[in-house]
Homo-oligomer: 402 residues x 2
């Protein structure tokens, strides 16, 4: 378990001390974070790092997980996609199962906290099943810029009961919501296994263990096998790059267990890129291993993020922190992190020639790569580390509770 | 959500009223149940039914889940097997990861309850990380009759800090434990989808949906694909039975996601029984569907439970409740439920000829099947329903808290 003092060398003593001061009116306050998975995905990752640090400030921060049957998660996955604009068939049965799982959970989940922070849509209706005695916050990690209208109207039924909504991007603000909305950027933990500086020995060991050849420079994309992450687009772009520079593409993505579509997307991809995979030019890995992700980002010549949608894009943050040049789509939260030409390159998602051009540029010019990367690391240090997220949570709690 | 009154028709008003009386000194007491999975396995199933009823009595019963990385669950699965007698290589790293997951969880899990009930070995060390302010109970659902000695010695380090240990069988009592030990039999919920009486229409629909032919009588065994459940033995016995009676064997078992061995066992089985499977004589199903389990027990001509080990054997209880004749091994908790010749037949696990003989007997004599089954249903009504489990928990809490 890490403590705030462990981050002194990274963010400086002033930052740590100012966090301690922010907690002064919150000692002993009991705050509950509630989401729907302990494992997999950016939300769980952030909470794993956030919770011990919140407790280290002097308040009591608890974390619980909403329980649901597989049917419930199938429905909430559809809701997740629809909040990002997909169509959804919003039947009475779906609504009933969604609400029922929350009601069932409330029966054996007693809430006597000073504040409740609900993450994402799965536990959103939970607020209906308690006598409200404290502020409730809905922390939405999803891109809300163009939600399916019918679903949004339905979810507002629950959202209007909340005291505040926290979103990841000013652009996700909803004008039709009477609730106070505030923007809190997500963050990464520089001391987590995924981001910590590894020894050269460990890097070499992992590359060998996972059969990643290093005789040519490689491009890394880290993302789930999800249509919104466009892994096929990444492969098309790679083929264009390889016409100019001899290199490899490594696609690294976990198969989230709550994502029934991932396996299908992976298999289609593996079939389409069979020749490149057999030749060793494209490497697909689905291992759930944070240190492998770290190594593949750390060792990459350049990072690609060819997403069509991104709530925020924590994989970009991780790559920037490792001092890597990043070539990415101008979607979701990515432009909050990347300034075109300063710490990476931004492109329209369908500009595949543009992507290839920038990747070639970085691959051919290590000094450019180094310069972009150095800026990227400072961007993250300033804005996107877990210590800033702790401070933002304390600000939120001070506003709500004191 | 079910309430106690829903069970009136099944257990009678006296039983329900006596449960209400037992809660009189416990109103408002806050009890915490803590285990390591919401889904899959008998423990989670019991808690799903138990928790709402505990809350219905007037006390506040909460339920939380220990969070752990996949490495943690790999280790605790080995511990589970070793508590049932397997060898285990108890390295310092394994011990450290086991304890660390508990310590990490304790940081964001605040315990201010009047009593804590810890289920099985995964969260056992949690007690080390709190200032003890209330009685803690270790509820062990595993067959402890011959645990690996080294592991048992290690786990006692945590167990001796508990106020009481609850086991499922008098035979699991440990003489070397200074802690009070009490026996509480597990139970099934007659109103859960797995056990509720289905309409004939639903039964027919499910058999059709899952392609289970009904032109011949069939034998059902419900159990995980686990070596201790001996599915290969079940197939060998079936071949002997089929020499005498034309019938089928249906093996129905979920692939628990926390069980890395299940897939391998399933595949070996499918390969070995390829001919029988292709001929439709043996049906293997791995679907996670409680109603399918219900239908396969309800429709079976006879139930087989060829386990080599069983903590208690809830699948036997479920079958008995459906009025089925059960032919099962004399292991673990099964003899607590089955009396040979009265409500089923008990055999030594290696007496495969004996198993075949009893199965043939029941298949050839429907009136014998009916008689055994009727006795079985009464055994369960009297001893193994969820209402009795609620009463036992209230007795335990009265002893500890009042």
């Amino acid at each position: 378990m890490r403590s705030l003092a462990d981050y002194r060398q990274i963010v400086g003593d002033d930052v740590i001390h100012s966090i301690c001061l922010k907690a002064r009116n919150l000692y002993g306050k009991h705050v509950l974070h509630l989401n729907s998975t302990y494992q997999g995905g950016g939300v769980a990752e952030m909470l794993v790092s956030l919770l011990p640090l919140m407790n280290d400030t002097g308040l009591d921060a608890g974390w619980r997980i909403l329980h649901g049957h597989p049917d419930f998660f199938t429905i909430t996955k559809k809701f997740h996609n629809a909040l990002q604009g997909d169509a959804v068939n919003l039947t009475p049965i779906k609504k009933r199962l969604y609400v029922q799982a929350n009601e069932d959970f409330s029966v054996y989940t007693h809430v006597d906290h000073d504040c409740v922070i609900i993450h994402d849509p799965q536990p959103l209706p939970l607020i209906m099943f308690y006598k409200k005695r404290q502020p409730w916050v809905w922390r939405c990690h999803i891109d809300l810029s163009s939600p399916n209208a019918e679903l949004w109207e339905y979810l507002k039924h629950f959202i209007i009961r909340y005291d505040a909504v926290v979103i990841s991007n000013q652009a996700y603000r909803k004008d039709d919501l009477p609730v106070e909305q505030r923007v809190v950027y997500p963050a990464i933990d520089p001391l987590a296994p995924k981001n910590i500086k590894l020894s050269e020995k460990d890097v070499t060991k992992y590359l060998k263990k996972f059969d990643v050849p290093t005789d040519k420079p490689f491009i890394t994309q880290v993302s789930r096998f999800d249509k919104h992450k466009d892994p096929s687009g990444a492969i098309r772009i790679f083929k264009k790059v390889r016409d100019n520079v001899d290199c490899r593409l490594v696609l690294c993505g976990s198969m989230a267990t709550d994502d029934p579509e991932a396996l299908q997307i992976y298999e289609t991809l593996a079939r389409k890129a069979r020749h490149e995979i057999e030749a060793g030019d494209v490497v697909l890995t689905t291992l759930e291993n944070d240190i492998l992700v770290n190594v593949l980002q750390e060792t990459a010549a350049v990072i690609l993020q060819k997403s069509k949608k991104e709530g925020f894009g924590l994989a970009v943050t991780e790559a920037l922190w490792k001092g890597k040049a990043v070539v990415a789509s101008r979607v979701g939260g990515i432009p909050l992190q990347l300034e075109d030409g300063v710490n990476g390159f931004l492109l329209e998602p369908d500009d595949e020639d543009g992507f290839a051009d920038r990747l070639v540029k970085v691959l051919e010019d290590p000094s450019l790569a180094g310069e972009l990367g150095a800026h990227g690391r400072e961007t993250v240090r300033e804005k996107f580390l877990i210590t800033r997220l702790v401070a933002d949570h304390l600000d939120l709690l001070n506003d709500l509770l004191t």
